[in-house]
Subunit: 266 residues, 2 copies
């Protein structure tokens, strides 16, 4: 059965898009079939793969508006890597879809409408806890939380975990937090170490509780700050295509191994 | 008359909050009376100043819901620096206020309801182009756009300028773009130079046109990447209180001089 992982953090600029783009590619390189979904109106994941949807392209907007289906709108990038593109028109979705009675279940409905050929689905979310992110939480099995080890980025974590718990209790009982991924990590800063300790303490205290984050971890793999990760999207390439020997490529490849191990795969 | 400047960029994590917090303080240090407004549900600007609103505190949410007024909800930090705090409850504002007939004009109405004692108002916006950011665009005289010199951050600029032009044409004819502020700048990267050149070319091409960005500039002052800027919010301090000799303090102080010169002040 397909595993759907929502990559979420309402704090902006913490590495969500960069992680979906490069972790997705790294998993696909090891064999599994991966579908990347861009549900951010900025459409940066689509851009990262060099896709700029035009009028004729079906996007996530058409799927949520029930005018297209997932298989119809999903593009094949390589034989086992797929992308459901976004569009800046999606910004209007919050208001156009807000009146729909099942507005938070639209993505879930499209996912369950037919059986999908993928092993993993990774969803790139916008920096907010609004309608689009709620759709991802309702549809997902697991949540991966990219975090920049900065004070402001840490502040939203409790609110995010609270929101995840609400969705798990009311709508999606299988939802759980897979873990926190440290991005743009600079090991020399004391700030980085302090933030990591706070997150570690938080999860230790949650062990054995009845929360969706009781088994959450901080991934051992840390994504180091590496300018090559910021350069590759301007060429429409993943870090592996752009600079396979960079720290960015090493880190996201190591993360793919650790991610797959969570599901008993290699 | 008070000058209201909205600090906006729908791209997340580009330095909006850090700029409002530190530019605001730097302007106040030179004499003018400054009010900082936090309209982001993350409430990071409030946090940056060590304020965590509780149930009893009036916030921007009460002002927009017309249950409180600006003078009532604004807190004095120093004799000429004020803060209108936000709250995470503001996240619900998008849906609770969405039905209001003048939903995009609520901030404007609260600003014009009485004469305010301030010389400048700086508004920290969330990373989106939704209801809260539209309220800031309707209420503002000028827009300051923080930009991280990265490819993904550059992509949203055209969409942001398009939105500003729409608001100027339909609702707020006085709205104009003051300029783009380069944040987290690392001079050694080629990516930084390329992005700067693209923005410069864009504004050169707009000279003499009838757009709100025809006179926009890239601020000569560049905010260099400086870990002290990421550390100071954890102490509830501005960069000037935390480390007055850091690059961050030097850069935001220089920016205050350049900002005030735009208004014929020193
Ligand atoms: N490890 C890294 N080292 C250096 N730069 C990085 C790294 N990860 C991401 N970046 C860059 O930092 C910026 C923010 O990353 P990204 O856009 O992936 O974050 P995001 O959480 O998706 O942002 P948003 O909240 O706007 O969706 C981008 O310009 C990206 O290229
Ligand atoms: N010049 C700088 N050098 C180093 N770190 C910085 C700098 N400016 C901001 N930061 C840090 O980078 C992160 C992003 O900055 P900030 O939160 O101000 O951006 P933002 O645009 O307000 O984000 P959001 O879109 O989430 O509101 C924060 O952790 C901040 O402390
Ligand atoms: Mg993103
Ligand atoms: Mg902010």
């Amino acid at each position: 059965a397909v595993k759907t992982v929502a990559v979420i953090n309402q704090k902006g600029g913490v590495g969500k898009t960069t992680s979906v783009a490069n972790l997705g590619a790294a998993i696909a390189m090891r064999g599994p079939d991966v579908c990347l979904m861009d549900i951010d109106p900025q459409a940066h994941l689509s851009l990262h793969y060099g896709l700029e949807p035009d009028e004729t392209t079906a996007t996530i907007f058409d799927v949520l508006a029930e005018e297209s289906t997932l298989p119809n709108a999903t593009k094949m990038l390589t034989p086992n890597l797929w992308l459901l593109p976004s569009t800046t028109d999606l910004a209007a979705a919050e208001s156009t879809l807000a009146g729909h009675t099942q507005r938070n279940h639209l993505l879930q409905k499209s996912l369950t409408a037919q059986s999908l050929p993928h092993d993993f689905i990774l969803i790139d979310c916008p920096p907010s806890l609004g309608l689009l992110t709620l759709n991802a939480l309702v549809a997902a099995d697991d949540v991966l939380i990219p975090l920049q080890p900065h004070f402001l980025a840490l502040q939203g974590l409790a609110k995010l975990l609270e929101t995840i718990q609400l969705v798990q209790q009311r709508v999606n009982p299988r939802l759980r937090v897979l873990g926190v991924l440290l991005c743009m990590y600079e090991s020399v800063t004391k700030l980085g170490k302090d933030v990591v300790q706070e997150v570690r303490d938080f999860f230790e205290a949650a062990r054995g509780t009845n929360t969706p984050y009781a088994d959450a971890r901080i991934f051992q793999t840390v994504i180091r700050r590496n300018i090559r990760l910021a350069e590759c999207p301007s060429y429409g390439k993943t870090i592996f295509e752009y600079d396979a020997r960079s720290n960015g490529a090493t880190d996201y490849n190591a993360l793919a191994g650790e991610f797959l191990a969570c599901y008993g795969k290699t």
